[in-house]
Amino acid sequence: MSDLKQFRADTRAWLEENCPESMRAPVKSDREMYWGGRRGKFQSDDQKVWFERMLAKGWTVPSWDEKYGGAGLNRAQEQILKKEMKRINARNPLPSFGIWMLGPALLKFGSEEQKLKFLPPIARGEIRWCQGYSEPGAGSDLASLATKAEDKGDHYLVNGQKVWTSYADQADWIFCLVRTDNTGTKHQGISFVLFDMESEGVEARPIKLISGKSPFCETFMNDVKVPKENLVGEEGQGWNIAKYLLTHEREMIGESPLSRSLSEMAVQQTGTVDGKLPDPYLRGKIAEAEIDDWAMSMTMARMLAEAKAGASLGANSSMLKYYGTELNKRKFELLMDAAGHDGLEWESERSEEGNLARTWLRTKGNSIEGGTSEVQLNIISKHILQLPGA
């Protein structure tokens, strides 16, 4: 048996034995998950057991080096672990912006001290992070940010406002883009800093969305002191880190959040007559969306395989982000069509407090956050098609 086959067999056996039954079902919302952090609370014993077992294996961050709290898995092993977890619908033991976003940035751009200081608490779920990128009025034009970080010798003095900071009201620390220099082009003079959300002068207020309550906040910084050791990379080079993370984010957002297939959900909503959805036109649209969904998942798999084979994903991350989010919006439109009157209820227990409608509305943001669809199309035009003036 090859090493990988052995790894698969071992992993499967371990998961079978260690993943509690209740942790083998899709979650209905982010709120059911354990996000860690100073104020993190487990919602069940199973959740706690599952987290602790995965942590002990280094599998909250399986690909990170062991000194940072990971298991040092290579890419192939990591994929196997993912697939095996998916096979039994095992839940993510620790969803975390620290793992998804800050970790990769630190691993690539951070100093060894920073890695040793920040990565293990992320792996252990001790510190919960949020992301401070967007600013009011800047939207997709991220680089036009205005939050100011003045050099005060051993620290920066940060003043400004961020928006769309997910879970800023529940996070412990923030990774944040600030302007340390105003003299060059707008992409220059941006720096990437980290600070504690309990620092004096920081305030986070949740934003209400069209879908209802949201994890997003507005975050205000008023004379916040940030020690210089918390600068990641060099001063003025924050834009590179931001671009790297945006590419990373795009790939994540491109993935579909549907826990079951579109058609399964549609059948659940409207039932079938003679084995078919009662609306034949809607049925055709759903089938076509399922075909696109399959082609999209094959494309993600292909590009991952190409990346593994050494090709750079490059601007194709924009393609994945563009297509994935537009497809996701389309799927939820179809689900709302299938759900009909039932899907319109907003507060009933029957509709799980309007779960479908709220998710449908929430998907509208997919093609806006992390760079709008229009921005992604511009990137494809420019970097892939090399159209003039793009």
């Binding site: 069209i210 036109y281 009157h341 509208k364």
Partner: protein, 371 residues
């Protein structure tokens, strides 16, 4: 076919524009929502609408109405759509009033049409039962029982059913025809559950458990009377969609003329320009469809039911696109509750579904045209 407004209609349109923008703008809906208002609309507004003649717009003058017809009703609905004005206009003044006007039951007709015109009665029509509009599939039964009937079944999406003084219930009779029955929701065996919808408006789920009513409660039976109610409702819902979709479109165009990104007004980007211009074209088709269906209703055109159904389908598609493009072109702020565009998206979604979505009407059209 009158596809251009005449002088009276232009005057009414201007009156309605001023009235709803002034008395029932989007902020009024926000207030009802945020205060979790029990009625879900402003009864004082409804009284004013009655005073203006709006409540009785399709009621004959003998019964206190102004009898201005469906074109007038559509012009009012368009303005309600533009302002997201909440009122029982659709449920009471269109659906119930049309059912009553089509009835041979002179006594009930006189009593309730007058109550509608004066604004005294809020009425709800209970048609649909399942997740999707399906008037041919009505399963609620009205069994003959002595001189009266016993009604059993469950209704969903009964607009304004939570505050209706009287309901008109569609139920299948012993001969399998659909009858329309007046039912007082306070009658024993009627159970009403208010359902707050995504658009912050209200409908109800209503269960009828052997509800006994007198023979007098039967307003009429057969497809003709039901189809009149459906056609009127579809045309007026289409008109409201014209208003809501139109307002979403116009506010989006205004927004992209102001908003700057990457050093440019975003409306300068041809990518958005072409989409906005396409949407403008859809808006024009949508307006024509609404005007054609309202005119056909007023002229008693034999094709009126078909036109109303087609208009409903076209408007559902137009307004959906207007809402989608609206949120996307607003960008991040379009996702916040602070901006109105999301409220339009929600209202449009409900109107899309009401009395049959585009897919339903496409299917019906194909069936009627033998394909």
């Amino acid at each position: 076919m009158a596809l251009v407004l005449n002088e009276d209609e232009v005057m009414l349109k201007e009156t309605a524009e001023g009235f709803f923008a002034d008395k029932a703008p989007v902020t009024a809906l926000r207030k009802l929502r945020d205060e979790r208002d029990e009625t879900g609309f402003d009864r004082a507004l409804w009284a004013e609408m009655a005073d203006m003649g709006f409540a009785g717009v399709v009621v004959d003058e003998d019964n206190g109405g102004v009898d201005m017809g469906f074109m007038a009703a559509g012009l009012l609905a368009e303005q309600m759509g533009r302002n997201l004005s909440a009122s029982p206009f659709l449920s009471t003044s269109i659906l119930a009033a049309t059912a009553l006007r089509a009835s041979d039951n002179a006594e009930q007709k006189a009593k309730w049409l007058s109550a509608i015109s004066s604004g005294e009665a809020v009425m709800a029509v209970a048609l649909d039962e399942g997740a999707k509009h399906n008037p041919h599939g009505i399963q609620t039964r009205a069994e003959k029982s002595g001189n009266g009937f016993k009604i059993s079944g469950a209704k969903a999406m009964v607009v304004d059913g939570h505050v209706a003084d009287q309901m008109i219930v569609a139920a299948r009779m012993d001969d399998d025809q659909i009858g329309l029955f007046l039912v007082d929701p306070k009658t024993s065996g009627v159970d009403v559950e208010r359902t707050i919808m995504v658009d912050s408006r209200n409908a109800a789920r209503v269960e009828f458990d052997n509800v006994e009513i007198t023979g007098e409660a039967l307003l009429g039976a057969g497809d003709e009377v039901l189809n009149k109610v459906l056609s009127a409702g579809r045309a007026v819902v289409a008109a409201e969609l014209l208003g809501a979709g139109g307002a979403a479109f116009e506010s989006t165009v205004a927004y992209i003329k102001e908003r700057k990104q990457f050093g440019k007004i975003i409306g300068e980007f041809q990518g958005l320009q072409h989409r906005a211009s396409h949407l403008y074209s859809e808006y024009q088709l949508a307006r024509s469809a609404v005007l054609a269906s309202l005119t056909a209703l007023d002229e008693g055109d034999e094709n009126a039911p078909k036109y109303c159904a087609m208009a409903k389908a076209k408007l559902a598609n137009f307004a959906r696109l207007a809402a989608q493009e609206g949120v996307q072109m607003h960008g991040g702020v379009g996702m916040t509750d602070e901006y109105d565009i999301g409220l339009y998206m929600k209202r449009i979604r409900v109107l899309q579904e009401l009395l049959g979505d585009a897919s339903y009407h496409s299917d019906q059209l194909a069936a009627q045209n033998n394909y």
